[in-house]
Symmetry: C2
Subunit: 612 residues, 2 copies
């Protein structure tokens, strides 16, 4: 044991040296926060964790999430010491041609998820732990290293509640209590008990240790592994800048590389890097059963029937889950409104209730996606705003995750503006490579859910509350990036584009206008992103270079601006009907009228534009 402690202590020292040298070389970064956690990471990577250094993708590797992402140099240093990357490579930290970025991203094969927006790691770890315990039933453990400052983030406590609720004894968190935040002392300073008390009250096993005592760290992990049916939080008192006298526990060193003139002294205090051979535990051998995916049952609707797209989503999710065993669903206590609950009829083990906690809902989904699942994560479209930072990070994390937002727009009616998703298209369109889908009937919904599962990446599917007519034949297909021309003739005078509920209003307007011998081309833009620019441009060109868009969304960032972006280099005029100002309670049809996106408003707009 003494030799183990000595070896791990030297490894920690190596990690500190690498962290200092690499950040000084790059001239920026966070060496002092690396130094506080170096002993913990040494024990984890070279004693407690089980992983195959040659296979980052081994399904039973223990997982490590560096929630305090600004300690990235420490993580890279651990890999270098483990022989995963070259020590020399550490000097490329933060360079544009290196994947050793300022905060970890999955450009590196050993990084599951991007971190750097604090307080998100525990949710991701929770998703991975749920997978290990309940789905793949593998014995890997999930370790999440957090800073003390980031526990102020509410998302941490959402995850804390859920991890205890799901009895995740395969989840181990560590809080690195170095007491110093970015701009001042943290809220609790070195009050280690305050962390223990809070996690205990949330149902966790907690262990308080000196985070620089290798023996205590080893014991803590050993104890954590012995606890059943409960997650463990190790609360480690540490010092920022540990090991270098002028930086240790000294304020003002956050996010600063040690300048050249002080580097020599720092390295002198730490001594040389010493090659310490330490065995790394391999993961237990285990094989994931290969899962066979079968064909999804096609839609079965009758044209003209009244069915909400959110209901179509429930049907589609159940069919998809029956066909694909990797599909799982999560919802934030809205499953009877989003219809996610329909998966329960197929397999109740593939639904995870995340309660009213959307940040963790999304974070857990990201974690599940990183263990090979295809999570369908649903709530009201409006409430995805609660998790927009996590959604943003899910893109940097290259997650394969599907967001389903119901109750979009004013068409929900009486519940009023707090429940209406009216900025969700803007949110999701601004996520790089995200697909944004918005079906107008249940046939389209079912097809798009199937398409979503096929697409490797982020998809947002926007569903509506009210019942609307089935307008598509069951055999109709809806490829991502496409659109549907619903009405077309050689004499069309204008192109009118909608999606979701407004498609139905446009079709009503079409009838009225046709009666007045005014023909319009009608496009259902079910794929808002990627957008079918070719069809839009071609249609506009044959209808006088004019498009009107109609959307149940605020004017900014929605369908109108998506269409403008698609056609704006072609000098096509785009006129928008959208929701202006904060809406209010009322009946759906009253609201569509009052906010100017009903059939009558469309008729008026078409006439006004044509008479210009």
């Amino acid at each position: 044991m003494t030799s183990t402690i000595t070896a791990l202590s030297q490894k920690a020292n190596n990690l500190r040296i690498h962290s200092i040298v690499s950040t000084s070389e790059s001239g920026s970064g966070h060496p002092t926060t690396c130094m506080s956690a170096a002993d913990i990471v040494s024990v984890l990577f070279f004693h407690s964790m089980r992983y195959d250094i040659h296979h980052a993708d081994h399904p039973n590797n223990d997982r490590f999430v560096l929630s305090k992402g600004h300690a990235a140099p420490l993580l890279y240093a651990a890999w270098a010491e483990a022989g995963i990357i070259e020590v020399d490579d550490l000097l490329n930290l933060r360079k544009i041609d290196s994947d050793l970025e300022g905060h970890p991203t999955p450009r590196l094969p050993w990084v599951d998820v991007a971190t750097g927006s604090l307080g998100q790691g525990l949710s991701v770890g929770l998703g991975m732990a749920i997978n290990g315990k309940y789905l793949d039933q593998l014995d890997y453990r999930v370790y999440v290293l957090m800073g003390d400052g980031e526990t102020a983030e509410g998302g941490v406590w959402e995850a804390a509640a859920l991890a205890a609720h799901y009895k995740l004894d395969n989840l181990v968190g560590i809080v690195d209590v170095n007491g110093i935040g970015q701009s001042q002392q943290t809220m609790y300073g070195f009050d280690v008990d305050s962390y223990c008390r809070r996690f205990e009250s949330f149902g966790w096993n907690t262990i308080s240790i000196d985070g620089h005592d290798i023996g205590q760290i080893i014991s803590a992990f050993t104890q954590a592994h012995s606890i059943k049916e409960q997650p463990t939080m190790i609360v480690a008192k540490t010092f920022k800048g540990r090991g270098v006298s002028f930086a240790e526990n000294v304020d003002g060193w956050h996010g600063k590389a040690i300048p050249d003139e002080q580097l020599e002294q720092a390295l002198k205090e730490l001594g040389p890097v010493v090659d310490v051979p330490v065995p790394i535990q391999a993961p237990t051998v285990s094989k994931l059963q290969s899962q066979s995916v079968s064909k999804i049952e096609p839609p079965k609707y009758q044209i003209g029937n009244e069915i909400a797209t959110r209901s179509g989503y429930g049907t589609a999710l159940a069919k998809l889950a029956a066909a694909n065993p990797n599909v799982v669903a999560l919802d934030g206590d809205t499953k009877n409104s989003t219809y996610a609950e329909q998966i329960l009829e197929v397999d109740e083990n593939r639904y995870f209730e995340m309660y009213i906690a959307e940040q963790n809902l999304v974070g857990a989904g990201i974690g599940l996606s990183k263990r090979g699942k295809i999570p369908f994560v649903s709530t009201f479209a409006a409430f995805f705003a609660r998790a927009y930072d996590q959604i943003r990070m899910s893109a940097i994390s290259q997650a394969n995750i599907k967001y389903v937002g119901s109750h979009c727009g004013i068409s929900i009616g009486e519940d009023g503006p707090s429940q209406m998703g009216l900025e969700d298209l803007a949110m999701f369109r601004a996520i790089p490579d995200a697909v944004v889908l918005y079906p107008s009937d249940p046939v389209a919904t079912e097809r798009l859910v199937a398409e979503s599962a096929q697409y490797d990446g982020i998809v947002f599917l926007r569903t509506s509350r009210p019942k609307t007519s089935v307008i598509y034949n069951n055999k109709e297909m809806f490829p991502i990036g496409g659109s549907k021309i619903l009405k077309s003739s050689e004499n069309d005078q204008i192109t009118v584009v909608g999606a979701g509920v407004t498609v139905h209003e446009i079709l009503k307007a079409y009838q009225e206008l046709r009666a007045a011998e005014l023909l319009i081309r009608v496009i259902d833009l079910y794929s808002v992103k990627p957008i079918d620019a070719q069809t839009l441009i071609k249609s506009a060109e044959s209808t006088g270079n004019i498009i009107i868009t109609v959307e149940d969304h605020y004017p900014e960032g929605g369908i109108g601006e998506a269409v403008q972006s698609a056609v704006s280099e072609n000098g096509i005029c785009v006129h928008k009907l959208a929701i202006n100002g904060i809406p209010r309670s009322g009946q759906p049809d009253e609201l569509l009228r009052a906010f100017g996106i009903d059939a009558n408003s469309i008729v008026k707009k078409v006439k006004a534009v044509l008479s210009r």
Copy 2:
């Protein structure tokens, strides 16, 4: 005491009857969640709270925040019983021409903030309590009524930590533990202790009661009022649907009005509405000192000096705070990066550290704004994504709040994508009536901060990390909704529009293009919303109907789409340079080049567009 209890009990019964009748009349709503909290609200409104029923705007009225906003009918019923509104008016619940909306909004004078997105009320209450205790030093108390399900929201725990940290003994929370969520039992069911334990561990005084026992409720509030230097959480065990046998503690009644055929039985069980005269305590008399606002010191820079706009913000905030005593600042432990810390030099009592907890940061800001302060709330632009739901609600709440997001875009450099605000313009543009400002130098920054304080509503100010040249004269003014034409001639061939860092790249491109005898018009679009459509259209019309936009933001929802929206009815072609795909770590100039928004990329784009 007995007669008080009897009276309050009858009042509670009246509230239940009103809640049932009004929701049944509207055919939707949440009567059962009103019934669980009816006794609590009865005691609050008719015994414990002090307010002037004739003056919603009395500065020393106790404040009530209905965090469980779906219990709106109960709140409206309490007003009716207090004589604030007519009982008959309750029958207009949820109608389009009534302000008695499905969830409360400040269209009603007695509602401070909109609720309905759960788990936000405690932060708002915290902001109001901070104002009472530390700023206005009034003795009003703030009561926040929460549902049990919503305590799963992390934002609640952010507020819990801060309220204890700031020793807010004027803040009283109530958790209505009715055990039933929307789609199933809550995570903790009737485990009242679990709520007490958790709030206690966060530093609160807690009191556990039977929420249907009027005597216990009265005692709890009395005890809460006696506690010093600590907020109190009253955890009340209740039954959803209390008082109506077929709905009481029965699953499946969430969000359902009692149907006509069962209404009679429900009303029979509750008995008639009885007129009970109950005295309402008046607020203690107190006068807010009127605060005089003086003139702000003008900018003092030298053209050509290199100063970051975030630094300009710090200077401006300090000057503004010196001139206007209502200005306060909040930040989430980034004050040394956003430069919000400069207010400390003027008045350390008007800065509130909110630590790394952005949801509460924004929620507390909303609360402060509702007590007459002008809060400047700052963090990295990227991290406002963490509070987008609160920001969305701040608009419905009609808050007068200023969001300042620093470190926007790839120009931050080595820290990498997690720290780069690249969707913030999309986020804030989609907020109705929000002003979105994006200065390119410190003169513009100072002027725009002053303008922000003048504007009554939401403002987002986007600042940049890198030092850039001062380009404006100190006397230059920057009205909201304006723009600056920086280069203009009669021979301009194209209009190039930027803001922030890209203005400097466009100016460099201008020099290079001019050397090649190609003139461009250069516009600094410092006001992204409202947008100076007139100048854009006029410029485009005199430069061949072509605009190129250059922005350090994703293509969706940013400057390019804002410009397109402004000119799209005029058939003007808009070409966009923006950040495509997830960026990475690197030096700022390397990144501007790699992602195609540097001077060289602009030169190329201008030439390419003109050669089409």
